[in-house]
């Protein structure tokens, strides 16, 4: 009824963002056709030969891609579990702390690593875990021989998961803390009057109060099953740990941009995009059905 004349201004407002979106986000989607071609940069997208699903068939016989797929899921799932549980435990501990000043200081400090890039943190971690670094000298105090950490394929996935949890747990705590403040204080008082100890209050009041949040975060993290963290692994890995540390994204980078196998790399990237997309949509549907979660 009222301001139909406003609509043309709305289109005008959307214009710059839409142009940007089309050029950077949408146009590259057309490049997906390379996954079904034997792409030749000289011939371009229009003249390269169509080979159907051959790239995908080849991908599944390559032993490389099985390793890469396994590593991706293994590291990503461990990260999901770590990033759900560690922040939860930490938030519960902070919640029990009665000294407000210490609480605020601890919070301020643990959020910090989230805002530093993996380039910076890799530089720091490579130093801290170096052969003659502080971690090895600490281990030396317990009589353990120095370890060349980043050359050990057997340790690499756990260093990756551990350092990711270290970087993100503080930030991930925020959402739990927000949920904790929404628990009605009267419940704690009632429980205390009934003679519940602190552990019992934690178990019977606090945890049930944030179960929805925990389940919601668990469901939403489903979309990350193929997301093992490119920036982190790219900056920390080396050929010695490819067997356990090479993931889809790093493999796509090397085979596509360094070895110029464009079609194969596009096919692998497409597989990841499609599976992730399906997982995210499923997780959103579940979250909206069971927890009334809406992104907008």
């Amino acid at each position: 009824m009222r301001n139909r004349s406003f609509e043309k201004h709305y289109y005008l407002m959307l214009l710059p963002g839409l142009i940007w979106l089309v050029l950077i986000n949408i146009v590259p989607m057309s490049g997906i056709v390379m996954a079904f071609q034997d792409f030749n940069p000289g011939a371009g997208i229009w003249k390269s030969e169509w080979i159907g699903l051959e790239n995908f068939e080849y991908m599944f016989v390559l032993s490389d891609s099985k390793t890469v797929l396994f590593n991706t899921i293994y590291i990503a799932v461990l990260k999901i579990i770590g990033n759900l549980i560690v922040p939860l435990v930490f938030a519960l501990m902070l919640n029990e702390l009665r000294m407000q000043i210490v609480k605020r200081w601890v919070q301020t400090i643990v959020y910090l690593p989230h805002f530093l890039s993996w380039v910076i943190l890799s530089g720091i971690l490579l130093d801290v875990f170096a052969f003659k670094g502080p971690v090895n000298s600490l281990l030396g105090a317990f009589g353990i021989e120095p370890v060349l950490f980043f050359a050990r394929a057997d340790l690499f996935p756990y260093i990756i998961v551990g350092s990711d949890v270290w970087k993100e747990f503080g930030f991930n705590t925020i959402i739990y803390l927000a949920a904790l403040t929404s628990i009605n204080p009267a419940l704690y008082e009632a429980a205390a009057i009934d003679g519940a100890t602190r552990m019992k209050r934690l178990w019977h009041v606090t945890l049930p109060g944030i179960t929805t949040t925990i389940v919601l975060l668990a469901v939403l993290s489903l979309g990350n099953v193929l997301n093992a963290g490119f920036d982190q692994i790219f900056n920390l890995y080396n050929p010695l740990v490819y067997s356990t540390g090479d993931i889809i994204d790093t493999w796509v980078y090397r085979s596509g941009l360094l070895n110029l196998q464009f079609s194969l790399a596009t096919a692998m990237g497409l597989l990841k995009s499609v599976v992730s997309f399906v997982l995210i949509v499923v997780s959103y549907l579940l979250a909206s059905k069971f927890a009334n979660y809406r992104i907008f």
């Binding site: 979106l21 986000n25 490049g31 890039s117 380039v119 790399a265 990841k272 997309f277 927890a291």
Partner: protein, 294 residues
């Protein structure tokens, strides 16, 4: 809250305090260690004798950096990128968010555009097609590649849309009665009211543009066009070769100039450390916006 003064409870409190302080220390220790190395004697750092305090305190690394034109060149590129990137992100995000915060009654195609944005957030063509397209646009080796290559930050748009929608409807109706048009309404009414969320997304995009290294690596063909993070990445990351033995890896990692690299890493952290207090004021608010709606 009910106070409990039992012996066990007191002991529990003290243990909790100690554990939390240890965890906080584990978070800052690596950063502190980097600062200590950067201020240490080169030989002492190479021998691995630096622990918590600088050994053989000196400013040599920082003095060397002061004369390093490559470092400052990259620093400048990063600053330029941060300024251009955040301004463009701010403008585009606000302009997208305002129409999308309207109801379907006021803006008939609202949902179509909204779902288009969400689709672009959740799906992408992958690295290789993106790279090919960026190459075709002729953006390689320009500052615009660094500013634009990330695309629209859809998540920021959603945060602002949600904020706009939660503002009281009466304000807008009053402005309408007074004859305000959409542009006036956006600039004079909505933007001033949305300062908390706009500050959040601006700080997020400053951090994003400062920290991003990959676009610099693949879209810039020569080292003098690298932003700071890419420059540092080239310094600290062991060169990617197809095969390598454990000994070679060890030698390569010991070759690097530890104190100088530590100083460069520390300087690259400073901008984030400077805006961190402001960030902290806003980001908690910003994140919890996107959660469960009643």
């Amino acid at each position: 809250m009910v106070k409990e003064q039992s012996y066990v409870s007191k002991l529990f409190d003290i243990a909790l305090l100690v554990v939390l302080i240890v965890i906080a220390l584990v978070c800052v220790m690596p950063i502190w260690y980097t600062l200590a190395v950067s201020l240490s004697d080169k030989a002492a750092a190479a021998a691995g004798s630096v622990r918590l305090w600088p050994v053989g305190f000196n400013w040599n690394s920082y003095q060397t950096i002061m004369t390093d034109s490559k470092f400052f060149n990259s620093f400048g590129i990063s600053l330029q990128r941060v300024v251009l990137g955040s301004v463009i992100n701010f403008a585009v995000t606000v302009l997208l968010a305002y129409p999308l915060s309207k109801s379907v009654r006021d803006f008939r195609l609202r949902n179509v555009f909204m779902w288009l944005l969400v689709f672009c957030m959740l799906f992408n063509g992958g690295l290789i097609p993106w790279y090919m397209v960026m190459k075709n646009y002729g953006l390689m080796d320009t500052i615009w590649a660094l500013v634009l290559a990330g695309g629209v930050q859809v998540f920021h748009v959603i945060l602002v849309v949600n904020f706009f929608r939660n503002l009281p409807k009466e304000l807008e109706e009053a402005a309408l009665v007074d004859g305000a048009g959409p542009w006036y309404m956006l600039v004079r009414l909505f933007v001033p009211l949305a300062v908390p969320v706009l500050a959040t997304i601006t700080l997020f995009s400053i951090v994003y543009h400062w920290n991003e290294f990959f676009h610099g690596l693949v879209l810039m063909s020569s080292a003098e066009k690298y932003p700071l993070q890419t420059y540092i990445q080239q310094l600290v990351v062991v060169i990617d070769t197809t095969s390598m033995t454990e000994d070679e890896y060890k030698k390569l990692s010991e070759l690097s100039n530890q104190t100088l690299n530590a100083a460069k890493i520390f300087i690259a952290m400073i901008p984030v450390l400077v805006i961190y207090p402001f960030l902290q004021r806003f980001f908690i608010h910003g994140i919890t916006l996107g959660s469960v709606k009643e």
